[in-house]
């Protein structure tokens, strides 16, 4: 397939996944703040940290307050990672490769876009974000479903999956990182009611609570970290994402298992086998924050290699690249 098309399909999926994750963050945080002291601005600050856009937020709005944070994350056009910006970028990418995706996929993205656009012009989504966040998640899942069922599982499909799962792995790692930062000071008090609410929220923001319970039962910090970082079967776990990314890269290159023909494949394979043979006690020993930092850097390297191996138009000077903002 065309390099430009592969590039756009990859970013289309990334942006959709990013929009979905922002909706998850808002949704869970909104639930957390319900029944809490209304003026407690602190409750909304971590959200801006998760998306990594605290600098821009401060510049535009100053202190994180509920409405400003919600607007910033959902509809602010100057925030390149707001839901509206993400879906707009996803749609622009989809539009530039409309012939390469299927008609139902395009229609899903298009409806998704209009749904967010329409919501952005009213106040309902900010007053009661849950309904809006549900719609965003649903629209994203509908697109993933249509992609799975209407597109041949060939090269384009794999690039789409790589985009989606690299983004998801990154977002899960951020949410784990930030929430642990807030939870660690009270880690000694595991089991206290307030704390439990936060742990619950962490699992819920990745839709992981029910699945976690089935695997681990009681909530302990180590088990939650294990589930979200090294989980093999849970689709939002970092390792799950990395495994599928590595599989998709091999499908594209056609390399035999355990071998590599390009840098992307080498880096993805290395990250995967590292996670395959890591226990959560290793992560805790290294320091959770340090481990996640290193993970994010490796993930970025995979993304960079992918760009160099498949998307770059070699005889052309560096064309404008899409952004992958990292804090």
């Amino acid at each position: 397939m065309l390099s430009r098309v592969a590039d756009s399909i990859y970013w289309m999926s990334r942006y959709i996944e990013r929009a979905e994750n922002v909706a998850r963050f808002i949704d869970v945080n909104h639930n957390l703040t319900l029944g809490e002291d209304d003026d407690n601005g602190q409750q909304w600050a971590p959200l801006v940290y998760i998306t990594g856009d605290q600098g821009l937020f401060k510049e535009l709005f100053g202190t994180p307050k509920r409405d400003a944070v919600l607007r910033f994350l959902a509809f602010e056009p100057r925030n390149p990672n707001s839901i509206l910006s993400c879906i707009t970028a996803a749609r622009e990418n989809a539009r530039s490769v409309r012939e390469s995706i299927t008609a139902p996929m395009w229609e899903r993205i298009n409806r998704f876009y209009w749904m967010v656009r329409d919501a952005s012009s009213g106040d309902a989504a900010l007053a009661e974000p849950n309904g809006f966040c549900d719609q965003v998640k649903l629209a994203s899942h509908a697109l993933v479903g249509h992609t799975y069922t209407t597109m041949s599982h060939g090269e384009a499909w794999h690039f789409s999956r790589i985009g989606r799962l690299l983004e998801r792995a990154d977002k899960t790692s951020r949410i784990v990182d930030v929430q642990y930062y807030h939870l660690l000071p009270t880690a000694a008090d595991v089991g206290s009611p307030v704390d439990l609410v936060r742990w619950n929220a962490l699992l819920k923001s990745t839709s992981a609570l029910a699945m976690y319970r089935k695997t681990h039962g009681r909530i302990t910090p180590d088990s939650v970290a294990d589930f979200l970082i090294l989980g093999r079967d849970f689709p939002r776990a970092m390792r799950f994402c990395v495994m599928r990314v590595q599989e998709s890269v091999s499908e594209i290159t056609g390399s035999r298992p355990g071998t590599f023909t390009c840098r992307t494949e080498q880096l993805a394979g290395r990250l995967r086998s590292d996670m395959d043979y890591t226990a959560i006690s290793d992560v805790i020993r290294e320091g959770l924050h340090e481990y996640i930092d290193r993970f994010q850097a490796q993930l970025n390297d995979v993304g960079e290699a992918l760009h160099a191996d498949f998307f770059t138009l070699t005889s052309e000077p560096e064309t404008q690249r899409q952004t992958q903002p990292q804090s």
């Binding site: 065309l2 390099s3 530039s96």
Partner: protein, 477 residues
Amino acid sequence: MHYQPTGYDESFESTGEPRPACREFLRRLDAVGVSELGRRQKEAELQLRNSGITFNVYGHQAGVEKVWPFDLMPRVIDREEWSQIDAGLRQRVTALNLFIDDVYNDRRIIADGVVPESLLQSSTTYRPELRGFSPTHKAWCHISGVDLVRNRDGRVYVLEDNLRCPSGVSYVLENREMMKRTFSQVFHGVSIASVDEYPEQLLETLLSCAPPAVRDPLAVVLTPGVYNSAYFEHTFLAQQMGVELVQGCDLVVIDDVVHMRTTQGLRRVDVIYRRIDDDFLDPEVFREDSTLGVRGLMRAYRAGNVTLANAPGTGVADDKAVYAYVPEIIRYYLGEDAILHNVPTYLCDDPKQREHVLANLHDLVVKPTNESGGYGIMLGPHATPEERAACGDRIRSDPRNYIAQPMLELSTVPTLVDDDEPPRLEPRHVDLRPFVLAGQDVYVMPGGLTRVALVEGSMVVNSSQGGGSKDTWVMRA
């Protein structure tokens, strides 16, 4: 159903009786009712928005994309009449292809004094770079969209031959799809010629015109990109044919062979359905500042390593001054009388005809010879005295660049009007753009794109200026 035709109406006789081809459809429509029609119309509009069937308007601020305006009331064409039009289109496109090939090669038609040499020398769309070149099967205009109108006299006229990059065919297919999805019951019991074949025929035309040495040719569609007004159509056609939609930056010419850049390296390209104007195709030969085209593309083309559809240089035959000669061109190459009528045309380059035009500006439509899309046209009866005077000055300073024609009154089709009042049907003026494919064989798509001026009394059907479109039914029985 209350409906009052004002001039020649496509669906109703002047007596108010339905025309025979429309009878069955109108009977079914009566059972549905106009208010239900209004509801379906809204449904169709939502559907169009959701599926992102749009066109881009240049210089339009609030979001460049606009949803394609579509009117649910179809335009119906009688079977007998269509077979005449079909034959006329085949004849016309065949003759124009022969004309273009002759003009770039032997120039018999000039030697025989049928067309003056000066006409070509002064044509801005004539490409001297292609002198002595002949494409595969001598096919120059693989895809044409010939604009037809019906005047108040009931006759169908050719308004212009679009032989460069005519657009609109995707909307023909989408309009039919939209009709079937939102208004299925009106199709029961009527037999309508299918338009679904077009993508297959287009692909066949493109592949059959590949350079002869290529065994298993690869075709692509070349687009200027997402901001082009017809971008939707480019994606649509590429998708329907299952070929890649490429931009100039995706292609590279190495040793006079065109390649596209893929994730697995370079891949040879044999046929390019290009939706970029000649001027922008290759900065090496045409406009140097073009970033849309491909450097070296014309070298590859002249070396016979790639087919371009349409061929560069076809514009010479849809120059509006050449248009006036088409009946003679048909007679010269085919020995037949033209089946489709030309609109009487005054060439301002000819002193006598110019005098007539300048004396009758208030009755005439003046058009620049090399523009398309309705740009630069002066409608005499509707213009102010100042506008007419300015037009006269332009004609005097560059007579070759202008032609004039009598003002036609386009026929109407019942169209749903749904403003503040209850929905109702009113006559609105239409034209028709059928699409013709010409490679080894000629294929005429039944019907074509019916464009409608949605503003009461207006004759401007361009979608950028308040025009909409309708499904076009060619009856099979």
